[in-house]
Symmetry: C2
Subunit: 161 residues, 2 copies
């Protein structure tokens, strides 16, 4: 199939300047803050977004190159399929995170619960709607017994270039 | 900024052959089923995905063309910014849905809670992990009082070409 091409709508800024030390999931890094710069030509699209406490960011893992279909995630020493983990080295290196939206000032979104590297290109924003996006009675596969100490895990350079 | 290009990893198949009548959110269309064809070269990446009851699908709104930064969502007669709604006509027409994963047979994923049009190009799959992806005490902005009768709403052709 032919390629599908997108143009970034902004950049995500955070304190994480390199891959070492990035929290692996924003949900477990409540104190982690950053901001999103939306390019001015898209600013009108932010109208009414400030009514939402949380948003999805869809972004490009710009430091990721290549991929393995079977790899070890941060949380496990066993190999799993790339589509059952969230690691950056994916066939299409697309990232997805829920972050907390603290405030919007003009074209800047101030966010917490951040797990992105500085200067990550942003592709899309969607409002997080609890009644649409939350599922109950879920099974979480291999992650089930790995979640208890997740705060201790930080990204290492396993997914470096 | 320069373009970012991806190559579909598969196709989403559903009973919705055209834009009219597609449920606007899979969470409210429990009986709606479909299947995902993963191209054989990516099949190994599905390993262990069957342990998860729900997955995120990230896909390309292939029938969407152009966008408006301010538009009316299905659920409201008022205009909102495109980033505070989930409509397809976005600067980057990327779709995000949580679906229920019923079973995997070889390179086919059988899913329910489907809100995608047949032949939608799939870009990525991520496991839905309740402890990572669920947020409590959220605010849902303009959608808050629109959710009660959401099942009644079906997509119309508002976002047609």
């Amino acid at each position: 199939m032919k390629q599908i091409c997108y143009k970034p709508i902004g950049l995500i800024h955070s304190d994480y300047k390199q891959k070492d030390g990035v929290p692996i999931q924003g949900a477990f890094s409540k104190g982690s803050s950053g901001w999103v710069e939306i390019f001015p030509e898209y600013q009108a699209g932010l109208t009414d977004l400030d009514g939402f406490s949380h948003i999805f960011l869809i972004y490009h893992f710009h430091l990721s190159s290549g991929y393995s279909l079977l790899t070890k995630p941060f949380l496990d020493d066993k190999v799993h399929g790339i589509f059952s983990i969230r690691a950056p080295k994916r066939p299409n290196p697309i990232g997805l995170s829920v972050v907390k939206l603290e405030k919007i000032i003009e074209n800047k979104l101030y966010i917490t619960e951040v797990d992105m590297i500085d200067n990550t290109p942003l592709l899309d924003i969607k409002p997080y709607v609890s009644k649409v996006d939350t599922r109950e009675n879920t099974r979480s596969g291999w992650t089930t017994d790995k979640m208890e100490n997740i705060q201790k895990y930080l990204s290492d350079d396993r997914f470096g270039d």
